[in-house]
């Protein structure tokens, strides 16, 4: 009970800061859409190639946006050394993890919905299995958010945070990226039935990373 109360406190704080600085809405989203357009640009649009690679591009874009969101979530703690203040409150590391992760996941999910609409329109893909998409996206999002938060705190406090984060995060997320792409391929132009194993894999990942994060975050958070 206490864990949830504390986690929601942290999530509320992060979301309030985001709401005030309008970064998720005002900047990360346009960033995502611009990257989507750039890809389309770089990939020679008239070859019909776009619809085929749309799922992959969608998730690579989400991943890049997630890097920004995670970086921002910990940059907020860096300024005026707020991180030390948060540690001094004696909040449980697991609560901080769940709170930060929930805030990032919420931002990403919001982004995915709008980006998804943009991709469907821009790349002209068909949606065959909405249910698959709706089952896959939250799992992938949770996987990305939890790993991102875990690695965010690993890199936080190091002077080179901004650049170290992608380096650490991208390889670990490769399986999530792959699973999400395959699931979306099934849900968009392909056969939804092919996608279900991938959705299962994604949920396994999400559960595993989240549980691991809850256990491990405290250790990372406490020590410097």
């Amino acid at each position: 009970m206490r864990l949830w109360r504390e986690a929601s406190l942290v999530a509320a704080k992060d979301l309030r800061i985001e709401a005030r600085s309008r970064i998720a809405l005002g900047q990360i989203l346009p960033f995502g859409i611009i990257v989507a357009i750039l890809f389309a640009f770089a990939l020679d649009p008239d070859s019909g190639l776009l619809t085929r690679v749309a799922p992959g591009l969608f998730w690579v874009t989400v991943l890049l946006a997630a890097l920004l969101a995670v970086g921002r979530s910990f940059a907020v703690e860096e300024k005026s050394n707020a991180r030390d203040g948060l540690r001094l409150t004696g909040l449980d590391g697991s609560a901080v993890f769940l709170g930060k992760m929930a805030a990032i996941a919420a931002e990403l999910f919001f982004l995915e919905i709008l980006l998804g609409i943009a991709v469907v329109i821009l790349y002209g893909v068909e949606v065959n299995g909405v249910v698959v998409l709706l089952a896959a996206a939250p799992a992938a999002t949770l996987g990305i958010a939890s790993t991102g938060t875990l690695y965010g705190v690993l890199a936080a406090g190091l002077r080179s945070r901004e650049t170290l984060l992608p380096l650490l995060l991208l390889p670990v997320l490769a399986p999530v990226l792959l699973g999400a792409t395959r699931a979306f391929e099934g849900g968009l132009e392909g056969a939804p039935s092919d996608a279900w194993p991938w959705v299962g894999l994604l949920w396994i990942f999400a559960t595993f990373y989240t549980a691991f994060g809850v256990l491990a975050f405290g250790t990372l958070w406490e020590n410097d």
């Binding site: 875990l150 690993l154 170290l164």
Partner: protein, 248 residues
């Protein structure tokens, strides 16, 4: 707990060292002359005797890293020994992964006609390589022994997730790379005769080399720690000695 400064008993280590040399010589003899060339792949197939054991030893090294990391995280068994073992084993694992990649790539050229393909096995192996490079980079960031040890251990446990993915990639995806011959889901090896014998000699030789190098790398870590401790004593002397300047 008094952390051990030798991983293996020196006599045992010497035996293993000699065994490793014999193993490598035997592998050369069998691999180059003893085993017959493959009916389809010809001489190129001999690369198998490097490729497969190095891949397996990479798995094994990362497994050791993961187990040592878990032992470090578990408060009851926490000891600097496990952190050192984890680091040493991960370094060897990266080397073996690199060897797998290079040899596989050399092998791919005559057999598939390309150095590299975007095959799930190949890509997951490359990801594995970078994952543990990242882990090694993380290990280099300084801090106190316990905190850095925990941080390293957590990163090692996350990274290990990729190992089963590499192994099962040939089952989960349609790959150019061939499916498992030995540790397949049916657990019945599809390799026999002198070829199988040579493979097992190779695995044995690689394992001995691994254990020997692990011990040596561990020793190096111990020496590093001793040197750091000495440097610290020196630094404390300098700091508390009466020296001019602003508090330094």
């Amino acid at each position: 707990m008094n952390p051990r400064d030798q991983l293996l008993d020196p006599r045992l280590r010497r035996v293993i060292g000699v065994g490793a040399v014999i193993g490598v010589v035997a592998l050369c003899l069998f691999g180059l002359w003893g085993a017959p060339p493959d009916d389809r792949q010809g001489e190129a197939m001999r690369l198998l005797y490097l490729h497969v054991p190095s891949a397996w030893l990479a798995y094994f090294a990362f497994l050791v890293t993961a187990i040592a990391s878990a032992l470090f995280l578990w408060p009851r068994t926490r000891s600097i020994v496990w952190d050192r073992v984890a680091g040493a084993s991960a370094e060897l694992g990266v080397i073996f992964t690199g060897l797998t990649l290079v040899v596989g790539s050399l092998w791919g050229r005559p057999i598939w006609g390309v150095w590299w393909a975007w095959d799930a096995r190949l890509v997951t192996t490359a990801v594995l390589f970078f994952l543990y490079l990242g882990y090694l980079a993380l290990r280099r960031i300084p801090g106190d022994a316990i905190s850095t040890g925990k941080r390293n251990a957590i990163a090692a446990l996350i990274a290990f997730v990729d190992v089963p993915i590499v192994h099962f990639s040939v089952e989960w995806w349609r790959t150019l790379h061939q499916k498992a011959t030995v540790f397949n889901p049916e657990l019945s090896a599809r390799i026999e005769g002198v070829q199988a014998l040579t493979l097992w000699i190779a695995v044995l030789a690689f394992t001995l080399v691994y254990v020997y190098l692990l011990d040596r790398r561990y020793r190096l870590a111990v020496i590093d720690d001793v040197l750091a401790e000495q440097a610290l004593e020196q630094a404390i002397k300098i700091r508390t000695g009466d020296n001019p300047g602003v508090g330094r």
